[in-house]
Every structure is written in structure tokens, then in C-alpha cells.
């Protein structure tokens, strides 16, 4: 359905634009505390009210969206690069290299995702700065997400290695390095692009889960995870409906990614 796809693209464009312009659009700094107005309801000054420390929710939402939406693709890029390197090498060389690298992928895949994230995040020092916590969280996501993608890339590289054009190139005297870089790697790009787009919503949700569990981005820096953590203080759903705006935005963005993925309309 074209209108659903267009709506998804529209949501993503508007959200990306808003988060890129967060510095100018936001009415206050994400860390500024309006001490006289803690837990304020939405008003002209604070569109989404303030949190228990008196910080403007709208400004924090914009900044949090910026962090989550810019770093999730960065982590997805890292995953795609790792998957391309590991899967490409395993598939192209085959033999023991493939067995060892795919055994490592098996090992990573054997551990449930959130357990792995919890373990890796727990190994980080306690006194990390907020900026470092953002980098660490998304770096861990990027470094742990390669295994499933590497399996797909490995299968692709294997079939490319045995393809007719590879055979022809070898027969013409093309070296292995040149064959890999000029003929195999470009053909793996569509697979890596798909893995990249698949990873973005997965990483956004993983960061949100980690944030709610208190193992994500450190305060006062906001992210979708830390903004959703506020929901755990609720005692009733109907109390403060504006608290749910970060959740609605997250669901809208992740759904948009899913719609585009299902529709296979993303560039490859």
C-alpha cells in the first residue's frame, strides 16, 4: 500500500529533521532544571511538561531522539562492516577459516541477545561519563549484532566465489585480492545494506530495553531508553498521558522502519 509507505517515509523524515534541528527547536537545554516547576503539566512554556527534576520534557525528547536515531544507524553500520568482513572472509576463503569464524558466530548466536547485552554492559566501569555511556552502549550493540548478518554474508560470498564470473575472472588471470575487492565485495553490498536497515530498529529497541533496565545511557543525557524509564514510576496509565509521547514516537519510528523493510522499498 503506497500511502502506508509514504506515511512511514514522512514520519522518518520529520523525526530526523526535528532531531537534527534539536539545538534550535528545543526551548531549553536538556539538562536545565526549572526548580520551581517540577512535574509540571504541559503549558506554553513546556509543551510536554517537566519531569520530577523540573527539566523540560520536550527538549529532552528532541535530544533523546537525536541520540537514539543518529547512533542506532552508526551501530548498524558497525554491525554491517563487521558482518561484511567476517562473513566475507569466511565465505570467500572457506575451509578452516570458515569453520572457525562460523563457530564464533554460532557461539554469539547461542546467547540470548539481552543476556549478552547485560553481561557486556555490566563489564563497563561504574563511573563512566554520560557521553562515554552513549558510545559504550551503541558500541556494544554494534559489536554484538554481527553474527546473524555474517552467516547471510558468508553464504552469499560462498556462492559468489563459485559463480561463473569469478571462474572467468580467474581464468583471465585476475588475482585473488582483486577478485575479492572488485568483483565479490560489490556484489555483497545489497546484502549488507539489507542487514544495515534490519539492524536499525533492532538496536533502537535494544537501547530502549537497556535504558528501562538502568543499563543504558547515563543521566543527565537523554535517550529513548532513559526517557521511557520515567514510565516505571507511574502508578496508573491514565494519570499523565503526555508521559507516553516518547513511547508513541518510538513506536511510530520503529513501525516506519518495519513498514519500509516489509515493503522492500529501501534502497539496496
Amino acid at each position: 500500500m503506497i500511502w502506508i509507505r509514504n506515511a512511514a517515509i514522512g514520519i522518518l523524515v520529520v523525526t530526523f529533521a526535528a532531531c537534527l534541528l534539536a539545538g534550535t527547536v528545543a526551548p531549553a537545554s536538556y539538562a536545565k532544571q526549572f526548580r520551581e516547576e517540577p512535574d509540571a503539566a504541559p503549558s506554553h512554556q513546556h509543551w510536554l511538561g517537566t519531569d520530577d527534576l523540573g527539566r523540560d520534557r520536550f527538549s529532552r525528547l528532541l535530544q533523546g531522539t537525536r541520540i537514539s536515531l543518529l547512533l542506532a544507524p552508526a551501530a548498524a553500520f558497525l554491525t554491517a562492516v563487521l558482518a561484511g568482513l567476517i562473513g566475507g572472509i569466511a565465505g570467500y576463503w572457506g575451509g578452516w577459516t570458515e569453520r572457525v569464524l562460523m563457530a564464533a558466530a554460532d557461539l554469539v548466536l547461542s546467547l540470548p541477545w539481552l543476556f549478552l547485552l547485560l553481561t557486556a554492559r555490566a563489564l563497563m566501569p561504574l563511573n563512566v561519563s554520560p557521553m562515554n555511556s552513549v558510545a559504550i552502549t551503541f558500541l556494544i550493540l554494534g559489536c554484538l549484532g554481527w553474527a546473524a548478518a555474517a552467516r547471510v554474508v558468508c553464504a552469499g560470498a560462498k556462492s559468489l566465489r563459485e559463480s561463473d564470473f569469478s571462474l572467468q575472472a580467474r581464468a583471465l588471470g585476475c588475482g585473488e585480492a582483486r577478485l575479492l575487492l572488485r568483483h565479490v565485495a560489490p556484489n555483497l553490498r545489497p546484502m549488507l545494506m539489507t542487514q544495515f536497515w534490519i539492524s536499525i530498529p533492532v538496536f533502537i529497541l535494544a537501547e530502549a530495553n537497556l535504558g528501562i533496565l538502568g543499563l543504558g545511557v547515563v543521566e543527565p543525557l537523554p535517550s529513548w531508553g532513559s526517557l521511557l524509564k520515567e514510565l516505571s514510576g507511574l502508578t496508573a496509565i491514565s494519570g499523565q498521558p503526555w508521559v507516553f509521547v516518547p513511547l508513541l514516537l518510538l513506536v511510530a519510528v520503529v513501525t516506519s522502519f518495519q513498514v519500509l523493510l516489509v515493503d522492500q522499498e529501501l534502497p539496496s
Partner: protein, 286 residues
């Protein structure tokens, strides 16, 4: 068959050992490893502090440490959790049944919903139904498990449903694709052309040929359910191993995390191997 069993057993053993070693190596390299906060107690004498430091000597060499830990595991001793000050074995015995019950109900709910929504798609070509089912599945795919758990907590609904709702979109999408692929197979078309009832076609011609794939999906669901169990148990305050893992992560209790990682790895690999073995034997029979 025996050779295949041995191959799978070796694989399970190697992956579990490697997983344990990896977790232990990470724990050993983590900042603050080997530091005992009792050393900062000003009431202790230098000799006592030296004795405390000496008690950690066996942990400095990672291979020796792993060997000692494995020897303990072989004897059924998992060590003592420094943060909770309780034997890990006792903690596991208390918490495993809670998680097992949560996972079992979660799998039933997830499979019931996913499979239940996907099956009509194989027989009915209603566009509205397909759109509705897809929309529900996509919605639950896009909500973090911890938020779902929070809603269920606030509405006092059973927490096992959250695990089920996390699994359901994956089961639905996979089941839908698999059923669609099976629908185009020649034997299914022949059965339909011969006028067999929908139920008979489904039970005898749809399910058996795709049995290995269904089994693989069961194994994947378990892994998903284990991941979902962590936020559900934390948010709903259920004393299971997911909550224990979170507590261990928050307290940097590496001994406990290593044990839990090993157990979860073993459970996942066992499930995967069992589904592969069953799938292979079904393929051979077919």
C-alpha cells in the same frame, strides 16, 4: 544416527565451554576485578589484608581460574555469589522454576497467537484480515518488552502474556511465509484438486513437510523468550533467573553472570541441537 548424536553432543559441549570461557575472560578483564572492598576497612590489620589479597591469587591466571571453576561445576558447586552472599546453586534452584513457568506459558501464548493468526491466511484470501493481522504483529514488534511488561503490571494482567506477545510477531511472520510456500507445493495443489477437506489438507499435507522448519522456529522462540524474560521479571518483580541476571549485572557480580550465561547458553544450544536432530530424522523418513 549415533555419529550424528555424538557430533551434536561435541558441538554442545564445545560451544558451552567456549561460552563459559568467553564470559569468564570478559569478567576477568573487567575493571575492578579482584578488588575486595573489605581491603578498605581501616579496622583490618596488614596481615588480614594480605590474606584477603592472597585468597584472590587463584583468580589471577585466567586458565587456572577457569579450570578450578569447571572442576567445581563438575562437582555441582557453582560457587558463592559475592553480591547476594548466597550459594549460586541455591539461587538457581529457587529461581529456575519461576522462569521455566514464565517461558512455558509465554511460548504457549506466543505460538497460540502467532500460529492461530497465520493459519487462516493459508486458506482465506481476505485482504482486510491480512492487513489487520500484519498490523497487530508489527505493533507488538515495535514496542520494547520492558514497556509491555510495565503496561501489564499497571493493568494487573498475567506477565506470561508479555513473553508471549514478544514471541508472537516472529512466529506469525515466519508461519505465514512457511504456510504460503507450502501452499504452492504440487502435492498440496493435487490434494486440494482432489477435493480433500481443508482440515485434512492442513494436517496431512501442510504441516508434515515443513516439520523441520517448525522445529527450528521452536528453538528460536525459546531464545527470544529467554531474552524477553529479563525485562519482564525485572519490571514485574518476578524472582526468576532473568531478574537474577539483571541484579548480577547491576552489582557487577561476575561469578553469577558467568553461571547464568553458561546455563542460558546450554539451554539454547540444547534446544537448537534437539530441533536440528529431530528435523534431520524427519527429513530422512520423508
Amino acid at each position: 544416527m549415533l555419529f550424528r548424536l555424538a557430533k551434536h553432543a561435541t558441538r554442545i559441549l564445545l560451544i558451552t565451554l567456549a561460552g563459559g570461557f568467553l564470559a569468564l575472560a570478559l569478567a576477568r578483564l573487567a575493571p575492578g576485578f579482584g578488588v575486595d572492598e573489605r581491603e578498605f576497612d581501616s579496622r583490618l590489620s596488614d596481615e588480614t589484608r594480605a590474606a584477603i589479597r592472597q585468597s584472590h591469587d587463584s583468580e589471577r591466571n585466567i586458565f587456572r581460574f577457569y579450570f578450578i571453576w569447571l572442576r567445581g561445576v563438575a562437582r555441582g558447586e557453582f560457587g558463592v555469589s559475592p553480591s547476594l552472599n548466597q550459594p549460586v546453586k541455591q539461587l538457581l534452584a529457587e529461581r529456575l522454576p519461576v522462569t521455566a513457568k514464565l517461558l512455558a506459558w509465554g511460548l504457549v501464548v506466543g505460538w497460540g497467537l502467532g500460529f492461530g493468526l497465520a493459519v487462516p491466511l493459508a486458506f482465506v484470501s481476505g485482504r482486510a484480515y491480512e492487513l489487520g493481522a500484519n498490523a497487530i504483529a508489527t505493533l507488538f514488534l515495535c514496542v520494547p518488552a520492558a514497556v509491555l511488561a510495565l503496561f501489564f503490571l499497571l493493568t494487573r494482567s498475567p506477565s506470561a502474556w508479555v513473553v508471549g506477545l514478544v514471541i508472537f510477531p516472529k512466529v506469525f511472520r515466519y508461519a505465514r511465509t512457511l504456510l504460503r510456500q507450502t501452499a504452492t507445493l504440487p502435492h498440496v495443489l493435487t490434494a486440494r484438486a482432489k477435493g480433500l477437506s481443508s482440515m485434512r489438507v492442513f494436517l496431512w499435507h501442510y504441516l508434515p513437510p515443513a516439520a523441520p522448519q517448525w522445529l527450528a522456529l521452536v528453538a528460536v522462540s525459546l531464545s527470544l523468550a529467554l531474552s524477553a524474560a529479563v525485562p519482564v521479571e525485572v519490571v514485574c518483580d518476578l524472582p526468576g533467573i532473568g531478574q537474577l541476571a539483571w541484579k548480577a549485572a547491576m552489582a557487577r557480580d561476575m561469578y553469577l553472570l558467568v553461571c547464568l550465561t553458561g546455563i542460558v547458553t546450554l539451554a539454547t544450544v540444547l534446544m537448537k541441537s534437539a530441533s536440528e536432530l529431530l528435523g534431520e530424522s524427519l527429513r530422512v523418513r520423508a
